[in-house]
Symmetry: C2
Subunit: 543 residues, 2 copies
């Protein structure tokens, strides 16, 4: 092969912080600390301290490839670990502290963590688990000597004392760009969590791909409030993309309530923030009650679950903040699609734009998506056909850590997301269901989410879930399980008639069951797994 004559530098995560330190040394990083006060410093100081922690870890015996766990909120010390651990060649395992105890033990053991860094918040949690974590050589509490707690944990170190052992003249090593940089476990509702292992190359290309204007559009003009946790897919990759673009970074620590979030947005003049819908419900609630506004904020990125129409309206019409609806998952680093309006759609009036804004958006360069039917036949971009959503690209997983039970990318690297979606002729993807929730009736698919949305559109219905029930003739048929609004009366047939107005005949559910409440998970999400168990003996009247 005739080779190019360009310099080869491996794509290293350490190069991001080096760039910020060199070209944006005075740009601020502001953190609300677990200890209480607001902490301020800049990328120059972050760079120096990340080198110190990298060197201190080496002195502690951490070698390239070793896993280092964190149980931590978003904060400057967590940022230092992102660069200090990965930059040294070790692998950062950002543990989600909201996992159940047995899952925490599982992921820490499965990842093979040698050291755990923890915020003060999670010391009691770790004290309860420590006996079942025999391989942890050190617990490092992310605070200074003054704030060190009394603890039953053994092998405890103080972060600031450890950092002082490190040399600020540490030199970042260069190594193979496909080396592992960090691990994030998916928190599936079934089975054990699965480890997704990012590489330096995938993280860097993802950060570049996420930075472009069709993506997050990050620049030196941005002050970013990073609400999405650093234990959720590296804060959607912004942990890397913010210093890469010289953005001011504001890290909220443990305080996620509306007043605390608003205080930071206001005082730090944040132009952009990213989080799941739940956070924004709390913020808009606070804004309505307090009469506060968002004068500095220009864009809000919302992902993790579908964005309700009322939330888009509220941000855009009440507060003049553009909503960027995004979709992705742990296995896609996470950015898959982002919603920005193409020029010909910007000419539409607002009400005509809304149905488009409710979609999860378009692929950014670096990742490709497609929808396929049960036989993996590719479906058209017509906005009607819906099928299994698959993704493929530079930052999509090729498999799970120490898990040979399945090959998730058997078909030419197309990763099955577990979502069901449509793609319209402008390329906008919309999630219509989860693969496991869709009802497969006589070869046709029926979206449970679409039926649920129509059901709660009836004024007498407070909440509804639609699940598949086995059917002798059609394989599966839909059942509606609904909760009535307090004081409302409604009969089965009335709800079925209401649904019939917007559906083809074969899509109309076979039955309705009214219940007092539906099962929900810890995060408030409808637990369809439990619901299916509850209705495992149910049979349709006509069966």
């Amino acid at each position: 092969m005739f080779q190019g004559l360009m310099q080869h530098h491996p794509l290293m995560i350490s190069s991001i912080l080096e760039f910020a330190e060199r070209w944006y040394p005075n740009v601020e990083v502001v953190s609300r600390t677990t200890e209480g006060p607001i902490h301020r410093y800049n990328y120059q100081q972050m760079g120096r301290r990340a080198r110190c922690i990298a060197d201190a870890l080496a002195k502690l015996g951490i070698e390239p490839g070793d896993r280092v766990g964190t149980l931590a909120w978003n904060g400057y010390r967590h940022m230092e670990l992102y660069f200090g651990v990965s930059g040294s060649g070790a692998v950062l395992h950002t543990v989600n502290p909201r996992l159940f105890a047995e899952q925490l033990i599982y992921v820490i053991d499965h990842a093979g963590d040698k050291v755990i860094f923890t915020d003060l918040t999670f010391v009691p949690l770790l004290e309860g688990l420590a006996d079942q974590l025999p391989n942890i050589e050190h617990f490092v509490i992310m605070t200074d000597r003054e704030n060190m707690p009394q603890t039953k944990l053994k092998n405890v170190l103080c972060y600031e004392e450890l950092l002082e052992q490190g040399d600020e003249n540490y030199q970042w090593p260069e190594f193979d760009e496909t080396a592992a940089s960090s691990i994030c476990y998916t928190s599936g509702t079934t089975g054990n969590p699965k480890g997704v292992v990012y590489s330096h190359r995938s993280s860097l290309i993802h950060a570049l791909g996420a930075s472009v204007p069709n993506g997050l559009g990050l620049s030196g003009n941005d002050s970013i409030l990073l609400v999405v946790p650093q234990f959720h897919v590296n804060s959607w990759g912004v942990t890397y993309a913010a210093p890469m673009n010289g953005c001011k970074l504001v890290l909220p620590g443990p305080a996620m309530d509306g007043a605390s979030i608003h205080q930071l947005l206001d005082e730090e003049k944040c132009t952009l923030s990213l989080a799941v819908p739940t956070i924004w419900m709390m913020l808009t609630g606070f804004l309505r009650e307090s009469g506060a506004t968002l004068p500095h904020m220009k864009r809000v990125v919302i992902g993790g679950s579908a964005v309700p129409e009322a939330m888009i309206r509220s941000f855009e019409q009440d507060y003049d903040v553009s909503v960027i609806h995004a979709w992705g998952m742990t296995e896609t680093s996470p950015l898959g699609t982002l919603n920005f309006l193409m020029p010909h759609l910007q000419d539409l009036d607002y009400e005509a734009q809304l149905p488009i804004k409710l979609k999860q958006g378009k692929s950014v360069f670096g990742i490709d998506i497609r929808i396929v039917d049960d036989e993996n036949k590719v479906l058209p971009h017509d906005g009607v056909a819906f099928g299994k959503l698959q993704a493929r690209g530079h930052w999509v997983t090729s498999g799970y850590f120490n898990d040979d039970s399945q090959d998730p990318v058997a078909d030419d690297n197309w990763f099955d997301t577990g979502d069901v979606a449509t793609i319209d002729h402008d390329g906008y993807m919309m999630i219509t269901d989860r693969t496991k929730d869709v009802i497969k009736s006589g070869g046709e698919w029926i979206s449970s989410i679409e039926l649920e949305n129509m059901a709660v559109g009836h004024s007498a219905i407070a909440e509804a879930a639609v699940i598949a029930i086995p059917h002798p003739k059609w394989d599966e048929r839909p059942l509606v399980v609904a909760v009535k609004e307090k004081g409302a009366t409604i009969e089965k047939q009335e709800l079925l008639d209401h649904l019939a107005t917007g559906l083809a005949k074969w899509q109309i559910p076979n039955d309705v069951v009214f219940v007092d409440e539906l099962p929900h998970g810890a995060t408030g999400k409808l637990n369809k797994l439990q619901l299916r168990l509850d209705f495992s003996d149910y049979q349709f009247p006509d069966a």
Copy 2:
């Protein structure tokens, strides 16, 4: 090494057009043709035709690594060759048709081109050179059968007929991402042109790095008039970055005059355009005479030589178009620095911003720069110290094609640009001179450009050049060679006194010589090489 578990896809140039074809199929590509009419199609059609030309080239016997030359303006067929040639694994050599005949023969021979694609414009030029290009197997004229000229060239093919031989179902191959994709020769004023060989990897990372908001900030909202020629460093990389971001692309063909450029900007509602200052002089001249305006245009990227203050004022104040001052070179793909104002500078009033806007700007992520003294000692970012400007990064050359006469990156990949620059404490770089033009006086450097700017600041001076003259005590001392304004009278001492007002004593030139005119090159640029030859026998009065 503990490897990441992410998919590995080589960074392929073909993937850019595949992305545009798949996700922006209907976005337009508009070309002013050499034949005359405006041609319109979209990325879907470009993708289909690029696959056809790739397949047709294979059938013609072109193999991976073979070089394919072009002599062509910016147009849709040139775009098809960018993707068709590089995408197939062959190497595109975009020849600058403005080179002198002997340079054209040299570069075509040195690159080893097997086929030359040419616009109608350059057929007569090639007819005159063909006898000296014995290795060219085919000349392909970029037009259809109807417009094919009578020509003395042998082995002539018609582009459209060739394309018809290709299969639109051709599959883009995947291969090593460090393979060569294209070659561009530098047009140095001394010695033979030198070939810079880009790779798929370097071109793709450059296109991503150029797309971010701190760079060109390209998005689906942009309609780009690409004036900078495709034979100048791949149109500054926008040939790749435009389809990567779903931008509408407008290609001006051979018509560079103000009226033609304005027509496209206006009719195609261009939001962004890129070119050298000379083009913008012609456009602003046209605007002043015609009273036309630029209602759609938001940004203009100007590079290639320093942007005059009056040009920045005119675009920003008269036409409400933001100027992005950029610096780069063939060896840097080309983007090195771009000028955007950091937030704390946006608070300054316009007159205070102007001196910053005159600088060439800040590094984007992916390329690093530094300034060093004669001993390669790194100089501070204080806006005062000036030294040799060096660059290093993912899209910086590691050497020249078939040229072992020198290693341009001997010092740890730091490429010597041949420019002399300062870098201020905010990271803004300003070119102050060329290394070969700076005057080295007793260990101190004196900028020839600074002295020239001061000299023409005197009302009696029309043009001035400052060159180094050997000096027995100080090694070199500055000599001013000046042309008086028509009808003006001024004596040597008066000009020296004028210069003394703004200079340290050791910087004041030793002598002034008045001449009737200064030597200029074909593009109107001052030819200091000739001037130094003209003054090779000159001695200072005090020497």
